[in-house]
Amino acid sequence: MNLRERLTRLRYNKLPDHLLGELLSKSWADNLVPFVFLVVVVAAFGILLPGFFAPSSLLDTTRQLGEFLIVVLGLTIVIIGGGIDLSVGSIFALGAFAALCVIYIAEGPAWLAFLAALGAGALFGALNGFLVGYLRLRAFLTTLVTLIIGRSIYDILITTWGTRIQSSPVWNDTFDHIGTGAIWGQPISALIALGFALAAHIVMSRSRIGWHFTAVGGARRSAFNVGINVRRTIFLTYVVSGAACGIAGFLFAARLSGVGPGTGLGLELAALTAAVVGGNSLGGGRGSIAKGLMGAIIVLLITNGLIRMGAGTGTSQLIVGLLLAAAIVLDVRWLKNRHKVLSEVYVAPLHHAMQPAQSALPGSGTAYALNNTLASAQAIALGTVEGPEDVILDAADNLYAGTRHGEIVRWFAPDYTRSEVFAHIGGFPLGLAMARDGEIVSCVGAMGLYGVAKDGKVKELSTETQRSLLSVVDDARLRDPNDCDIGPDGRIWFTDSTTRYDAHDWALDSIESRPTGRLLVHDPKTGKTRTVLRNLRYANGVCLSHDGQSLLIAESWACSVHRYWIAGPKEGQLEPVIRDMPGYPDNINRASDGTYWMAWLGMRTPSFDLALRHPAMRKRMTRNLPQDDWLFPNINTGGVVKFDETGAIVGTLGDLGGAAHPMVTSMREHKGWLYVGGILNNRIGRIRLPDADPNWTSWNSYWGGRA
């Protein structure tokens, strides 16, 4: 390696580029922009306004925040439910008026005033909910009209009763205390708002109705199809919003002990801006209470801060309009391009220098030289099976294979023309192994480790392992379980190929070439799964050695095979067996003569080997080209390799024409035949092995005939 390549290696292998994509793919990543904005706003006003952080100033701000926040949170819930409520300003004013009427005209207690405000708000919200939810009117225009109706009613009421409220001699201590008092140095209204926020958060994130709100907002038709009462759910969002405005109006009335003609005017625009600036998507389904909270603080701080800096009439409209437009444009663009940005940023290739390999060309004279044996394989289930990644046979010679439809299909001996769906698991069943009692254990891509009993009953064995401390992606989930084998003690050893990509995106992992594959072990006795090895370049096939002391593990993108000792003096050690093969290894299985079969899912090419040493080029490729034009490893040709305990190659099988078995992902020897599967193939092949033991079966080799 020259200096330049060393620098490249340093740059791409030491800097954690992959973290950016992993952070962006987190669902909380949407909160980052509003959060950073909030910090900037607080910092900016802290510097620009002297005394911004003084206790008296903060107290005043939080008091206003209390009322505003409750309104914003109500609106947030409506927005998450896929609607919008522009009448919040009017409901707020009517709620405040109702509270004042109870206190100053009916001379009632404070709790009754609270109930009156809440009831008035909820009632008005129910009107909105009826119109939008049950009559299915357009939320925006409808609530715009109810905004005017509410405002007109309020104006009429205030001209009739306003003077009586202002001149009332009633003095209600509780009411005033709620408005201007404080507990633990915090204004009561802020504490109420905090309690409201907490309750709303729990309801939205933990309760059935909260999930229904999100479901209806996210996909109305799907929500209807799964049986959610969509109309009632929408109705309820408006009732909640109305009630929230009522509470906020009550707090406002208690703080000022009066209302004017301008109460709540323009509140709808400020609240809407707050909800959207916080990151709640208009159109529903994406949003949270935390986002509403951030938005409310941002908008209140900016408008209050500007007023204190002495800005004139119209400034708050200027700012709110600008913020609203910017936030909506950002939201629309982000929603539209999120997956594009993610897919561009997510792939973070590493520098990986592959060592030169021996040729596998026919007639090259090397041990790897492929022949044309597989071309003449007998085809089983030709054209009726899709994606038999792995194959296995039982004591009655029946053949099993997983398919891309998430099924394990059984073909009946002796001619394998009749078949049935043995079990439906889902996902994509990949590697198979057979336990002592005949149970089939399968690594199901995108799901986990599953067991299928002899009667076809599916049992989940494991879908997670322990979370590592510092990983950003959730590596507790099994993302791409690939192959498994069972130890003499019944423990199931299996590989999870990558923590970075979903099972169907496995080819992207080859472009990145980042070692994130793992070897795991599941103990059926305790039901626990443990991560044994990490940092494998696409951990793939795993096979228990003939003596049961060690495992052979194929590392696909490193083109090597390792031995991991699970018993004996070397227990826990990892040692290399084969290095720098010309093909990408897949599953490994035992052969009858004490050696091992290994599948090659593809062949190395000089071009891709070169590309692996140029991570910048691969990065540009993934960003600038459509996926169809990317340089992938060659998976159009492969083969089967046989090797012994020392790693020496003792034989190969290939299909040079590529018509029958271009790529091979697994093979299983059974009674003198070799059964061949391929994840992209439309058949299972079998060839007779002339020199093999005609009575040898894999199950016997593992369990020695002891049932």
Binding site: L141, V145, I148, R220, L282, G312, Q317, L318, A325, I328
Partner: protein
């Protein structure tokens, strides 16, 4: 709703509204003294003309399945700037030229946000309405009400000018309606606008330049808002920026919806604007003669608008299977 029975086919929303206008007119004529006096009739037409010009602009946007909530804001702001420039001693022509550029710019801004940034028209124009007014009021204007300066004699003269005994704003309204009618009916962009409003995806697929068309419709509504502002300013000799907070915008939406231009787009035309404007004009005039306070008038108008929206929702129901997610 279209029906096979010819008798029912006559009862479209347009004819119903026209009938209501006639009935209301007859009722007021009998019940109210002086309602049918020529001066009052002129009043009705006059009060309708500014509203009608605005409604024509709104109608164009709504036909293309949009809505422009920034019309009143644009109307106030453009005329206010123009008058402020005149007060600062600019000539009428240069002030008009500058404001024309600003007006087109505002329309372009709305159009780009909707067509190219993909923001829903409701939110785009709601935001731009607040921003435009907030910006101009806080940065450019010094007071709430701006009067036409004495130096701008030609503008003052326009307010008093009469053509066929009709005030100029009525003439402008009729001219706007006539031009818009011709354009919508017989010009290519006009027909495309209907297609786009009727089925946006289909229009886009068949190669109609939908994005430029959206931008054009918002520019048209901005220009008409400016025109309405001029018409209002020359008759009142001033522009009151507090108009932004009034219910004028809702009156405009009311005229469009009542007249029968469905909010789902692709329906109606300038005839509906005239009919809707007449009904609202008669209603407002009658309520004013009845001496109803403004806030009661607002309540009545809002209730009528709510009824119209409910009716619109029943006549043009939203299809659950094809309605877009987030179409609020």
């Amino acid at each position: 709703m279209p029906s096979n029975r010819p008798l029912l086919r006559i009862f479209t929303q347009e004819t119903i509204v026209l009938l209501m206008a006639v009935v209301l007119f007859a009722g007021f004529a009998v019940a109210l003294d002086g309602f049918t006096a020529p001066a009052n009739l002129l009043n009705i037409v006059r009060s309708v003309s500014v509203l009608g010009i605005l409604a024509a602009g709104m109608g164009i946007v709504v036909i293309g399945r949009g809505i422009d909530l920034s019309m009143v804001s644009i109307m106030v702001v453009t005329v206010a700037i123009q008058l402020q420039l005149l007060q600062a001693g600019w000539s009428l022509w240069s002030a008009t030229a500058i404001v024309a550029v600003i007006t087109v710019g505002l329309g372009l801004m709305n159009g780009f946000m909707v067509a190219y940034a993909g923001v829903s028209a409701l939110f785009a124009t709601l935001a731009s309405s607040a921003f435009v007014f907030g910006f101009v009021r806080s940065q450019i204007l010094t007071q709430d009400v701006i009067y036409i300066p004495e130096t701008a004699g030609s503008l003052l003269w326009l307010g008093k000018a009469r053509l066929f005994d009709l005030p100029l704003d009525v003439i402008v309204f009729l001219a706007v309606v006539l031009i818009a009618l011709v354009l919508l009916r017989w010009s290519r962009p006009g027909r495309f606008l209907y297609l786009m409003g009727d089925n946006f995806q289909a229009a886009r697929t068949m190669g109609i330049p939908v994005r430029p068309l959206i931008v054009a419709s918002f520019v048209a509504s901005a220009v008409l808002a400016w025109l309405a502002g001029i018409a209002s300013a020359v008759s009142l000799q001033s522009m009151n920026t507090r108009l932004v907070n009034s219910a004028l915008l809702y009156d405009v939406v009311l005229v469009v919806v009542i007249g029968g231009i469905g909010l789902s787009g692709g329906k109606g035309g300038m005839r509906n604007v005239v009919v809707g404007a007449l009904l609202i004009g008669i209603l407002l005039n009658g309520m004013t003669i009845l001496n109803l306070p403004n806030i009661h008038q607002n309540l009545i108008k809002a209730l009528i608008l709510l009824g119209a929206i409910i009716l619109d929702g029943q006549l043009n129901p939203r299809d659950e299977q094809t309605s877009q997610q987030g179409d609020i």
